[in-house]
Symmetry: C2
Subunit: 154 residues, 2 copies
DNA sequence: ATACAAGATGTAACTATGTAACACTGATGG
DNA sequence: CCATCAGTGTTACATAGTTACATCTTGTAT
């Protein structure tokens, strides 16, 4: 087993398909994990993925973590540090964007992925000024999304 | 026990004292945890704090987590999401700044706390535009600090 | 074909991080 | 005196992630 074709639908939170990833080098377990994350409409913890893949033969957390490690390398998946959870990248050509930000609604659980160019530029400037070389940047906003905010005031 | 005076030195990574916090409402356990974080020259996990406070009578993680929860509320301590660890706030008048960023050196473990105003403004603008109300913003740069970067190229 | 190397997988055991539940204490205000 | 509340102590539990080792698969060199 070395190279199951991974051609997987990318959905928005509403289920609308907005793109696909085609990565020729996904192995069986990587495809299973990536497929699970794409079908989910929100972030999943590694153990949640494990439970969803019991029927496919998954038995141990390491099977999930190994697949996730590769998917993170490929840029197909992001880790949400403040949730200890993982989401499929929602940007179809994501291999490019190494710095990205997330807005996480604490009411409905939806996650919006965006690229805050100005913020990243400012952070880069700060880093340059004080001699810090960033390897990975984490930006996560926890709060309430438009829908949930409106619902609360109705 | 209700109100041990907490007047505690704030040190930089080099041990230099750069300020103090005076908070009249710190309880015994809160003072012990806060003091431990201030003496440390880097972030500590909750279990590391627990081990450092065994001699003071700490026995269970909840004693640490309960103190940390309050210290986080008071703004005296920050949580580093990407490390599952905690640091004393290095900004003496920190009660004000609710949004802050960290540059974490993966070589030496030092953490620099800073306030990236322009980045925060940009993120606020993005949030406003898409109806998201942020309650807490996490910004963490993982990389290499000036000293460690220079050491690597020497 | 045979042999080897690299990558992928399976499994058990373990460490690390964080919580729930319940009991107890000491202060505060009727 | 009694109710209440915040803080504390302790046990057990739940969640998250890793180490170690064996096996299997596939590509490649001989
Ligand atoms: Zn992405
Ligand atoms: Zn929402
Ligand atoms: Zn601070
Ligand atoms: Zn360093």
């Amino acid at each position: 087993m070395a190279g199951v074709e991974g051609h997987i639908r990318i959905r928005q939170g509403d289920g609308r398909i907005v793109g696909t990833h085609s990565h020729p080098e996904l192995t069986k377990n990587q495809s299973l994990v990536f497929g699970t994350l794409n079908r989910a409409d929100g972030p999943l913890t590694a153990y949640a993925i494990l439970d969803l893949l019991r029927d496919e033969g998954f038995r141990a957390p390491l099977q999930v973590y190994r697949a996730l490690e590769k998917l993170l390398d490929f840029g197909l998946v992001h880790r949400l540090e403040s949730l200890n959870a993982f989401v499929a990248c929602s940007h179809p050509g994501c291999s490019q964007h190494h710095a990205v930000a997330f807005a996480i609604c604490e009411t409905c659980g939806n996650v919006l992925e965006f690229t805050p160019d100005a913020a990243l530029k400012d952070l880069s400037k700060w880093a340059g000024d004080c001699g810090f070389s960033p390897a990975k940047t984490t930006i996560e906003l926890r709060g309430t999304c438009r829908g949930c905010g409106q619902a609360a005031t109705n």
